[in-house]
């Protein structure tokens, strides 16, 4: 560890001993064979350091991905590893201390977006990003997460969303409907498509709500939003609160099942996709009888089947691949289908597609004020890559990425606008 002591937040009034115990229990609880294999296979090659944007922009060794997991590696070896009993009895592996957990908050939350670029490089195929996600379970239970995330956690627990209480949803939707001249059904008892949003849409980008509504109405879909399950962003997925992750997931899925929907439509959001598309099923006994679609792949399907058509835009464009839907989610081609349908001349970033660099704000990092200087450094990296393409337009499919990049642009006085792929489609629908 470098010399400086990292700042940390804490929640709850419990003893340090209790915090350590809670962290260990929560971390160990869900350890399956895949995570164990990954914990066991590291050969300390350090190859991934050059893949992690936080290391690349600072050159600081402490941002090395595996180092972010160090206390959890020891927890694994002491608790559930094959030699755990021997390690404990003979004192071969040092127990995790409270000060380590405190110091590691910064590494696990401020300087990791769970983007998974490190996973791409590791010769042993270790999914470090996923392990960080599991480490957050420990820190959450220990009451050692960044305070802003804890606040969002409490809010989402009460309201079903960190952005707004459910009871305000109809008013918000009414305002959007009026402003953009679209119809937005809400709280229908029966619909084929349940549309969801993320805080970015509810706050910064309400036009995206209108864009989705416009497209759904254009294809004559039987769709609705619903107060009982409207925010697909999952704070629990991000901050390590497994209980909240389940609660928020069930709110969406149960609502969809109740209204007989066959499609859950996710907004332009990254972690919402990870939470709903890949992790929702784990709380249900049998496979879910519905499709969970990110709006990007929904648009790709509509465009390729001809259900909607767009006017071609002849501009040059480049695209930021949101980590959770592309590298972790599988929508690299879907995004490019939409870009192609829009008639854009795509000039790829130097690191694009599955290899793209993270915007630097995912996984809650954009919400952590402490991490701002770090985030701005990452922004410079993205900015350079965008400028090197010389493209006129800069597009992406994630509201959090947009916010992160907008904040970076503002700080750096960068003129380039960041646009939403969804909004561009809606704006250019052909009759």
């Amino acid at each position: 560890m470098t010399g400086a002591v990292a700042a940390f937040d804490h929640q709850g009034e419990v003893t340090n001993e209790q915090r350590v115990q809670s962290a260990l229990r929560a971390f160990v609880r869900e350890f399956g064979v895949t995570s164990a294999l990954h914990m066991e296979s590291c050969v300390h090659c350090g190859m991934y350091a050059e893949a992690c944007h936080f290391y690349v922009v600072t050159g600081d060794a402490k941002y090395t991905p595996a180092h972010k997991l160090e206390p959890f590696r020891r927890a694994y070896q002491r608790e559930v590893g094959p030699f755990a009993a021997v390690a404990r009895t003979l004192g071969l592996v040092a127990p995790v201390t409270i000060s380590e957990l405190q110091q590691w908050q910064e590494l696990v939350y401020d300087s990791c977006t769970m983007c998974g670029r490190c996973t791409l490089v590791c010769p042993m195929g270790i999914d470090i990003a996923e392990l960080i996600k599991e480490a957050r379970h420990g820190l959450f239970k220990a009451g050692l997460i960044p305070e802003r995330l804890a606040l969002m956690d409490r809010t989402a627990d009460k309201w079903g969303s960190p952005a707004t209480p459910a009871e305000d949803l109809p008013d918000i939707l009414h305002d959007v409907a009026q402003q953009y001249g679209v119809t937005i059904p809400c709280n229908l008892d029966r619909a084929d498509i349940l549309m969801t949003v993320a805080p970015a849409e509810l706050g910064d980008h309400p036009k995206s709500i209108a864009a989705t509504a416009k497209i759904l109405n254009r294809i004559g879909a039987n769709w609705t939003m619903h107060q009982s399950g409207f925010d697909a962003s999952n704070v629990g997925f991000n901050d390590g609160d497994a209980r909240l992750q389940e609660k928020l997931t069930r709110a969406i899925i149960d609502t969809a099942l109740r209204i007989g929907a066959t499609i859950v439509l996710l907004p332009e959001c990254g972690h919402a996709y990870g939470a709903a598309r890949w992790e929702a099923a784990k709380w249900y006994d049998k496979p879910l009888p519905l499709r969970i679609l990110h709006v990007t792949e929904f648009l790709a399907e509509l465009l390729s089947s001809g259900r909607i058509r767009v006017r071609p835009i002849g501009d040059t464009a480049t695209y930021h691949d949101p980590c959770q839907i592309v590298r972790r989610g599988g929508l690299e081609q879907a995004a490019r289908q939409v870009l192609a349908a829009l008639g854009l001349q795509l000039i790829e970033l130097k690191d694009h597609g599955v290899n793209g660099f993270c915007c630097g704000g995912g996984g809650g990092v954009v919400s952590i004020a402490r991490a701002t200087p770090l985030r701005h450094k990452v922004f410079e990296l993205k900015r350079r890559q965008v400028e090197d393409t010389g493209a006129k337009r800069f597009l992406t499919s994630c509201g959090q990425c947009r916010i992160t990049l907008d904040m970076g642009a503002k700080h750096a006085h960068w003129e380039q606008k960041v646009e939403s792929l969804l909004e561009l489609v809606a704006d250019n629908l052909a009759d």
Partner: protein
């Protein structure tokens, strides 16, 4: 001095009678004689030049020649057969006879694979040879059996190459793997138990 069986090898460090299981309890001279100077001329049989030369040295100089840690005269036991073997170039190049009378054997290749103990045997057979310099085992196509080294007969076999282990490992490894499996299963059960304890509500 190949003579009648065991009694002539009283100068050896140990004699074949003490081969496993050693029913007669035979021991080397060095464990019986403590107070007199002792010179070992080892070999089965010992090289006649070694005996003659050592006796000549004693008569001419009135003192014991330089000995190695096994009390053998360095003049005759200072180098290995391997150090002076004429087939050494084949060893260096990895050209080994694979069986007696195969093509490599007939071409005079190195006898390492056929169990030659030349590299670890100290004697002067390779230079002085036997029967007035006619030949020595390797030249005649048979690997050195290491007969001037202690317990050469109980070292795993005359035809076992030096790089092969001498102990039987098959059963041991199988048994060890079985033990490992048991412990491994036990460890995983212990871990699962620890996990379910951790999953209980606090």
């Amino acid at each position: 001095m190949r003579g009648s069986g065991s009694s002539s090898s009283s100068s050896s460090t140990r004699s074949p009678p003490s081969a496993h299981p050693n029913p007669t309890g035979a021991v080397p001279i060095s464990s019986l004689v403590g107070d007199k100077p002792l010179i070992n001329i080892s070999g089965c049989p010992p090289m006649p030049q070694a005996m003659a030369g050592t006796i000549t040295h004693l008569l001419a100089f009135g003192r014991v020649p330089e000995l190695d840690e096994l009390r053998r005269p360095r003049a005759f036991f200072g180098e290995t057969i391997h150090d002076r073997c004429y087939r050494r170039p084949y060893y260096e190049r990895g050209m080994f006879a694979k069986s007696f009378d195969d093509e490599g054997a007939r071409d005079g290749w190195c006898l390492y694979e056929l169990g030659c103990k030349g590299p670890v045997t100290y004697n002067s057979c390779a230079t002085l040879k036997w029967n007035g310099g006619v030949s020595f085992p390797i030249q005649s196509g048979h690997g050195c059996i290491g007969c001037s080294e202690p317990r050469f007969w109980d070292r795993g076999g005359l035809y076992r190459p030096l790089s092969a282990g001498t102990a039987r490992v098959g059963t041991i490894v199988a048994g060890a793997a079985a033990v490992g499996a048991l412990i491994g299963v036990g460890a995983s059960l212990l871990s699962r138990k620890r996990q379910s304890t951790a999953a209980k509500p606090e």
